[in-house]
Symmetry: none
Subunit: 216 residues, 4 copies
Amino acid sequence: MAAQKPAHAPTPAPDRPHPDATRRSQRSRQAIYDAALALVAEVGYPKTTIEGIAARAGVGKQTIYRWWTAKADVLLEAFLDLGERAVQAAGEEAYAIPDTGDLAADLKVVLRATVDELRDPKFEAPYRALAAEGVVNEQLGREFVTRLLEPSLQLHADRLRAAQEAGHVRPDIDPRIGLELFVSPLAQRWLQHTGPISHAYTDTLVDYALHGLAPR
Amino acid sequence: MAAQKPAHAPTPAPDRPHPDATRRSQRSRQAIYDAALALVAEVGYPKTTIEGIAARAGVGKQTIYRWWTAKADVLLEAFLDLGERAVQAAGEEAYAIPDTGDLAADLKVVLRATVDELRDPKFEAPYRALAAEGVVNEQLGREFVTRLLEPSLQLHADRLRAAQEAGHVRPDIDPRIGLELFVSPLAQRWLQHTGPISHAYTDTLVDYALHGLAPR
Amino acid sequence: MAAQKPAHAPTPAPDRPHPDATRRSQRSRQAIYDAALALVAEVGYPKTTIEGIAARAGVGKQTIYRWWTAKADVLLEAFLDLGERAVQAAGEEAYAIPDTGDLAADLKVVLRATVDELRDPKFEAPYRALAAEGVVNEQLGREFVTRLLEPSLQLHADRLRAAQEAGHVRPDIDPRIGLELFVSPLAQRWLQHTGPISHAYTDTLVDYALHGLAPR
Amino acid sequence: MAAQKPAHAPTPAPDRPHPDATRRSQRSRQAIYDAALALVAEVGYPKTTIEGIAARAGVGKQTIYRWWTAKADVLLEAFLDLGERAVQAAGEEAYAIPDTGDLAADLKVVLRATVDELRDPKFEAPYRALAAEGVVNEQLGREFVTRLLEPSLQLHADRLRAAQEAGHVRPDIDPRIGLELFVSPLAQRWLQHTGPISHAYTDTLVDYALHGLAPR
DNA sequence: CGCTAAGCGAGACGGTACGTCCGGTCTTCCA
DNA sequence: TGGAAGACCGGACGTACCGTCTCGCTTAGCG
């Protein structure tokens, strides 16, 4: 795959050499993650300030500026860290897509779980904040996609490919596009408040996507 | 159904009665729209400030605060105004969805036009800015959807319903959900930079959505 | 001789045009003076910060930066204001130098008063701070001299000139230099802590200065 | 006379015992002196920072904090070191006051040399910086006087006492006060920018001081 | 036709947060 | 164990905007 150009830098890259990472205080790093997530949950992303994070974490502002370039950056890493800890707590396979042989059923199960997660208030605030920032800031957006969205999308693609091999999906379908038929509608409803999301809704999406809108 | 809570107001609605709108200066209003759109295009949404808009428009800050509650508000109206002027310039029917009897072809035409519009740099900056704000600010998000997205989505729904009556779409399909199969993937790719958008891509989306992923 | 270099400007004079002085808040100005003097007296000049002054005065920092360029500037004006109010309270002539015909006696009276003033803790802290700043910052130093020192020195020069006309001072003496014989020693002892200051000391100075060190 | 209070210490003397001075790096010490003097000359005292000195000297910050308590402290020692090296270079007696038998002439020679030194830009910046700090910080001020001013003043006092014995100065004159009549005016003009300093000026001072202002 | 009550340009104000700089302490690793 | 290096907490710096608040000045509409 061709090397992706690494997304423009808004500030012209002051060549700030990252300081010696081996001497970094893990204590401070964790405190900053915790503070950032707590503040976003409590007062919302726009009212979350670097100063506030530093104060809550009991950390000097410089310690934040030393390791991150922007508020969104901090939150992204904090959220990733949260995700990793959640994964470790839940067990790796909890996030895998089952393969019972019944594609529709398997997808419905996963999408229902996604709906539940999107509604979990613990995740909602930081997730929305990051998504919003990514809409406007392409650099962060790509990072968001690569590190948060992509792994999950890959699982869907894999499941579709398996179904293809089992003859349950047409061989000419590109799985990376196919999965968007049921994933993107849910994403848009949630992101842009274009409509309510529910288990019934995602079940419908899977049915529509698999069998098409046209009569057979 | 429980009464929908009407989207939280950040400031608890100080019941500030809009001042006498009949004496409003149209000259200032237009200057503010122009300044807002120009600034968003030039320096981006986050660096666009009320003060900057006021200065550029040659207007007192208070004149902005008198008529709008937030930066996003100004931009939303400015963008709507821009849209209206564009519609008037292009003729009403330019934005309608054709009905040649060939649903797939009609949808492809419209989606190709949408792709072109999304790529128009004149629209991109403010549109992204508003969408991003809407992700995080539910109140603005709903306004954004209602006033900008909904009219266009309605056209798609209407076209699907017509196709249903003509027997080209299964009768049990909910058009409001059906349209998401091809509209949402495009929206998500553009919004979240999850992938490139092109005419070929939207053509594929239409085919997948109409005929489904499963073999027939 | 060579042209005197006109007092260097530390920052290259950003041509910041003073804002509209007619709209200035006198309330804030006075509060800033009071806060500045109080803080210098309480915590000393180096620990007096612009931020602290603003907070104590209940004023935004910008209001200070709008009207003054530096901490020393604020204090200078505050001190001048204090002086003016003191003069008005004490009556104009309280600070004049008497002319009883007895030059030595008149000078001793005035120098004793100066000693008392230098020891007044209310004046000492800000006065020292300003003097110190003036030592290092020529621009402020000149302002300090012109607005605080000069008026008082002028009175001494006038008194010496009167004595000259009365034949009590040699006619070839330059009063502006002559006065330094008794004024500067006191100033240096106080400024640089080179020795104690007392009424006896200044009396001695006057005698030495009038009659010289050499035997007659 | 009451016991002199021993000059307040800003930090309450943490009894930090100076570390083992025998193992001290003379290399670092000298580098710090050089860096301090160079920085004060280049950017001025207020913009000279401990961090800057350390960086320029190629020294860790702790090495400075280990041996000195404050920026002024470093500079004072650096300046004293500079002075000692200058004395050794010029020969001891260069700074002595001559005794040709003509008091006025001898004093004029010495004061003219002082004027020249005060104008030497190499000395001016650090000297002013220290003097200014001493005005405000009594502890440093006394150290400044004792170690820098006093030795020179003592020479003047000695010369006056010799003149007294030779009958050229009245026997009731206190030499420590007498010398101030011509030394302090020069000091004040230089310190506070109250007037220009020149050879003619100091010559005049000597004449006035020796013969007094009053007619004989 | 003049009075009066808006809207308006301007911008000072009390604030909050920014991103930077430096003070002084502490820790690590080298000589 | 002194020193070079530099991360850390803290806190002030000077700037940029926020949203509110006066100021005079148009500019209607109404009396």
